[in-house]
């Protein structure tokens, strides 16, 4: 057992870092140490956690400035004399201490038009082949820890972009549905215009922090950008639509697409 120095964010948005000396045992993770802090020094420390196995996505925090799951950050990976700073995710408002209000993500999730199968197909009719399942299976691994949303500089460093940008997690959802063989809705236009795909400059931070190792940028965001380019930035497509060769070529925009409102009250 050794003593380690922890700096932990206390309070709300205007709070600050408090220093603690805390015991650390072999094999422990940062979440264990936070629990020991709660048990021994600050029983009112707020930490959100659940599974302690990297599968629920609850304990997302920033450890020494890096967005990580506290339950997957082994203490043995830090230098012996290194002090450890734990702060809440910078992108979201703080409720208290290390607990953030991540309702921004639930709002964005609701705005993604749901799976839209052909009205002609009956439930149970559709058979999906393994190669098509595999491509989307990767995106289904998402545990919604929102670390990708937290690290994305589009909203992390520019809060004003939150209205226009859905973030990597939900653009990945749009990509997943856009690739779905049975989904009939055209999600390319809304991905660009409603969910702000153009704001993404593919710097791959979302991929770097993903605890499920989902290749968000390479397998979701870039393929979606290419599909948007097919639809909106291909000069040949543009010419075809101007001279009437592409009438009816696009599948319809999903019916339950978000309507932009001027006032958030509406």
């Amino acid at each position: 057992m050794t003593k380690r120095t922890f700096h932990v964010w206390r309070g709300g948005g205007e709070g600050g870092l408090a220093q603690y000396e805390v015991e650390v045992n072999e094999g422990e993770v940062v979440l264990d140490v936070l629990h020991r802090l709660q048990a021994t020094q600050c029983p009112d420390l707020a930490v959100r956690w659940n599974c302690k196995a990297g599968k629920c996505g609850s304990c997302s925090v920033e450890i020494n400035g890096r967005p990580r799951l506290a339950c997957m950050a082994r203490m043995s990976t830090f230098e012996p004399e290194e002090s450890i700073t734990v702060t809440p995710m910078r992108t979201f408002p703080v409720i208290r201490d290390l607990v953030c209000d991540v309702s921004f993500n639930y709002q964005k999730a609701r705005e993604i038009p749901s799976f839209t199968p052909s009205p002609d197909s009956e439930p149970g009719d559709f058979r999906m082949q393994q190669e098509d399942v595999q491509r989307m299976q990767e995106f289904r691994k998402c545990i919604e820890c929102f670390l990708c949303q937290d690290v994305c500089h589009v909203i992390r460093d520019h809060e004003e972009n939150k209205e226009a940008f859905a973030g990597p997690r939900f653009l990945m959802r749009a990509a997943e549905l856009e690739m779905h063989p049975e989904d009939t809705a055209d999600r390319r236009k809304i991905s660009q215009e409603e969910f702000g795909l153009g704001y993404c400059n593919i710097t791959k931070c979302c991929t770097e922090v993903c605890p499920e190792q989902i290749h968000i940028t390479d397998n979701a965001l870039i393929p979606l950008k290419e599909r948007v380019a097919d639809r909106q930035y291909d000069p040949l497509v543009w010419l075809g639509s101007k001279i009437g060769l592409r009438k009816g070529a696009d599948t319809p925009v999903p019916p339950n697409t978000r309507k932009r409102t001027s006032s958030p009250e509406q």
Partner: protein, 272 residues
């Protein structure tokens, strides 16, 4: 849907006010620094060589540097213009490979990997993950001129055509042996190695992956396109590696041709 909490802005919740640009303790600034140094070195080298308009062709062995292919100026060395020349001599500031270099530059400029590289290192948006960027406003690739990044696929098509020309150059050099006919020297191996890696980089491009299969919603019933997509995806996972390796092989190929053409070194021959 019901909600038990008011929206954060109404509840008076605020994001954590942390004044430090980042709390990261690792050497997060080294990768962007290396990127700046690497890309700048390549651009400076390329600019110097392109404006040099000399030492690009080894007549004895048919070595043509990729920086001058296809050579289009009327002043190109005899035998170096494999596709013929334009009727006038280019001034000092125009590259002899006038029709290929701009497209190759744009192919790499709009490449998804290089975008990441220069957005992070030169533009610092962001310099590294979870490091605050210095810009007051950000619109990414949603507006002019950066919206033009969406034209990457057209530069991919051009780059593929130019790779065909580079392949032709490398193949032609095999038939410039010392005694005439087939011959092979170290220069041939370097040019062929460069061309092979250029193809790997070009075909591992994200746009290529999209064109050959990514754009499909269903792979079932399309085994050939699925196979191609799978192979390209495999190469694509190392696109960054190919991007840097080909910058290196381009410099090596060009430098080797320049050294042999200027008489600084002689080309070791393996056969004829």
């Amino acid at each position: 849907m019901t909600s038990t909490l008011p929206p954060p802005e109404r509840a008076g919740l605020k994001r954590p006010r942390i004044s430090a640009r980042t709390l990261r303790t690792d050497r997060w600034w080294t990768p962007p620094l290396w990127t700046v140094l690497g890309l700048t070195a390549f651009l400076v080298y390329g600019l110097v060589r392109v404006l040099q308009q000399d030492h690009y062709w080894v007549a004895d062995y048919g070595y043509l540097t990729p920086f001058y292919s296809p050579c289009l100026s009327a002043s190109c060395a005899p035998g170096s213009a494999h596709l013929g020349t334009l009727p006038w001599e280019f001034p000092w500031f125009l590259p002899y490979a006038l029709f290929s270099l701009p497209f190759l530059l744009l192919f790499r400029f709009t490449c998804y990997y290089y975008r990441k590289a220069y957005y992070r290192s030169f533009w610092q948006a962001p310099t590294a993950c979870a490091v605050r960027e210095p810009h007051g406003r950000y619109t990414g690739e949603s507006r002019f001129p950066m919206i033009g990044q969406n034209l990457h696929r057209y530069f991919f098509y051009a780059a593929a055509l130019i790779a065909v020309i580079n392949t032709y150059d490398a193949a032609l050099a095999l038939f410039h042996g010392r005694e005439g006919g087939f011959g092979i020297g170290l220069g041939n191996l370097i040019l062929i190695g460069n061309v092979v890696l250029l193809w790997v980089y070009t075909l591992s491009c994200h746009s290529c992956r999209h064109v050959f299969g990514g754009r499909l919603n269903s792979f079932s019933g399309r085994p050939v396109r699925y196979w191609m997509w799978t192979q390209i995806s495999r190469m694509n996972s190392r696109h960054m590696l190919w991007a840097w390796v080909t910058l290196g092989t381009l410099v090596i190929a060009d430098l080797y041709v320049a050294l042999v053409a200027s008489g600084t070194i002689t080309d070791p021959r393996i056969y004829n």
